[in-house]
């Protein structure tokens, strides 16, 4: 299967007044065409920063190094695009929205307050010369036509969420990054949105869902990548992952679900201003020993596997 997005050694640092925050560290990730990849992880681990770095949406104090090569089949394609070095103008004209769509987190702050949903959608459709009409698109995301004529402040959290999803889908981007697309939706609407994303993948699109909703990820994802303290720690096919997570962190995260033990992962994640050299999870890990001072890595070729010296599955087998 072809790789739509090939990320290598991606590092994002933010320069603050007196410190440097490292939000993404040496991240390698292949996103394959037609697949739905779920990126999961604790709050503040760098998931959204990763998405924003690919969209050219980081603030000025961000330093980005590494490579992220976008290869899609855009008809007006000028070949693969290196996203990390792309100029802001290039992002605005040809990449953002058109080739990579983003469903932003916090719809409450993502919508222009002075226009109705219909105006926003129609404008996007016109700019991208789409023939679909706003009502069809709204129906796709489960939004009633009447709700389209409201201003963002008149929408509930769930309605605003569906409107931002419709806006991201309007240009029909080959790659869609959805940052928490199901927050604030009730269960039927969550399922509706997930099915919509799933259908995009089944018809040749590619979707990356950033989510903390593990139940949602289990329902639709082909593959799961777990992020912890700015790095990927596990990246495996979704069915294998949910059957038996390998990384102790992934296992602890799944265990925190209300349907399981409902206990938080003990301890705090490390500060991103002072990341350890070795495994960042070691201080919270029951299996940690002296090996953990050396940083474990994923398979550098496939970007898959588990970055741990004592993965759980191996332990059970051996």
């Amino acid at each position: 299967m072809s790789t739509v997005l090939r990320i290598r050694d991606l590092t994002v640092r933010f320069r603050l007044r007196d410190t440097i925050v490292q939000a993404v560290s040496g991240l390698d990730l292949d996103v394959r065409r037609g697949e739905l990849l779920a990126i999961v992880g604790e709050s503040g681990c760098g998931k959204s920063v990763l998405a924003h770095s690919l969209m050219g949406l980081l603030p000025k104090n961000a330093q980005v190094t590494g490579s992220a090569l976008l290869r899609d089949t855009d008809p007006a394609d000028t070949g693969p695009v290196e996203l990390i070095s792309a100029a802001p103008r290039r992002f605005a004209r040809g990449i953002r929205g058109r080739r990579i769509g983003l469903v932003p987190q916090s719809p409450a702050t993502a919508l222009t307050p002075v226009r109705t949903g219909r105006k926003l959608l129609e404008e996007t459709l016109r700019v991208h010369r789409r023939t679909t009409d706003a009502d069809t698109l709204a129906a796709d995301v489960g939004l009633a036509p009447a709700d389209l004529d409201r201003y963002p402040f008149e929408l509930s959290g769930g309605m605003a969420q569906r409107l931002t999803t419709a806006l991201a889908l309007a240009p029909d981007p080959p790659l869609l990054i959805a940052d928490e697309p199901t927050t604030g939706l009730d269960r039927p609407l969550v399922d509706h949105t997930l099915d919509l994303l799933r259908r995009r993948c089944d018809t040749g699109g590619t979707v990356v869902v950033i989510t903390h909703d593990l139940t949602a990820a289990e329902r639709v994802a082909d593959r799961v990548a777990v992020m912890y303290a700015s790095r990927l720690v596990e990246h495996r096919p979704a069915d294998a992952f949910f059957a038996s997570p390998s990384h102790p962190y992934a296992a602890a995260l799944l265990d925190a679900l209300p349907t399981r033990s409902f206990n938080p992962v003990p301890g705090h994640p490390p500060m991103l201003t002072a990341l350890p050299d070795g495994c960042a999870f070691a201080p919270r890990c029951p299996a940690a020993n002296s090996d953990c001072a050396r940083r474990p890595d994923l398979d550098p070729d496939t970007t898959e596997g588990v970055a741990c010296h004592h993965p759980l599955v191996t332990e059970e087998v051996g």
């Binding site: 709050s43 769930g158 927050t183 604030g184 139940t215 992962v265 705090h268």
Partner: protein
Amino acid sequence: MSTLAARGVGVTFGHAVVFDDVDVELARGETVGLRGPSGCGKSTLARVLALLHGPDRGHVSIDGSPIEGARYAVPVATRTRIALLFQSPRAAADPRLSLLDLIAEPLLATGTDRTTGRARARALADDVGLTEDLLERRPHAVSDGQLQRACLARALVHNPDYLLLDEATAMLDASTQALVAQVLIAYQRQHQAGVLLVSHDLALLDRWADRTIDWNELIS
């Protein structure tokens, strides 16, 4: 009786009747879940209960005494007994304040001195699992989950008797959600607080709430 109750409340926006004649009661010490479809008016009801939006019909009462006053000139001593944690911390937090000031602000606004206020804010930040390096940052430099934990600490700063959570853990990862639940359950035990959980997450309500109200039962 120690309850926060809405009696026959109704809210109308323009021509749209959001809901009418709704009765709901939250006693101290209990955790009540409220579930309902997206956009049905759950958040509006939470705002009414939090005394942020005056109902067009009916009234809200605390411990049996109705809240009086045109358009909610509610005394500070009453207002601080109820705290609301919003769905979107990004929209709720003042972008100009550091997380520490965000947490301390309600105390400073009611006359606590800055040193005491900040010390209390620091202790609360620790309770909700915010590390020291985050406290001097402003909202744009932290994640939604971290910001929501700061908002939780802010909500607890006046030791409220009633806590209303409007989908407040929906944007949190499983571990942070469990942590917030732990903090709140501990707080509730200590203060005998009444907690209202507005949520779509049935698994969460099953696990956390003593009883769950379905929106359809409220309006029928």
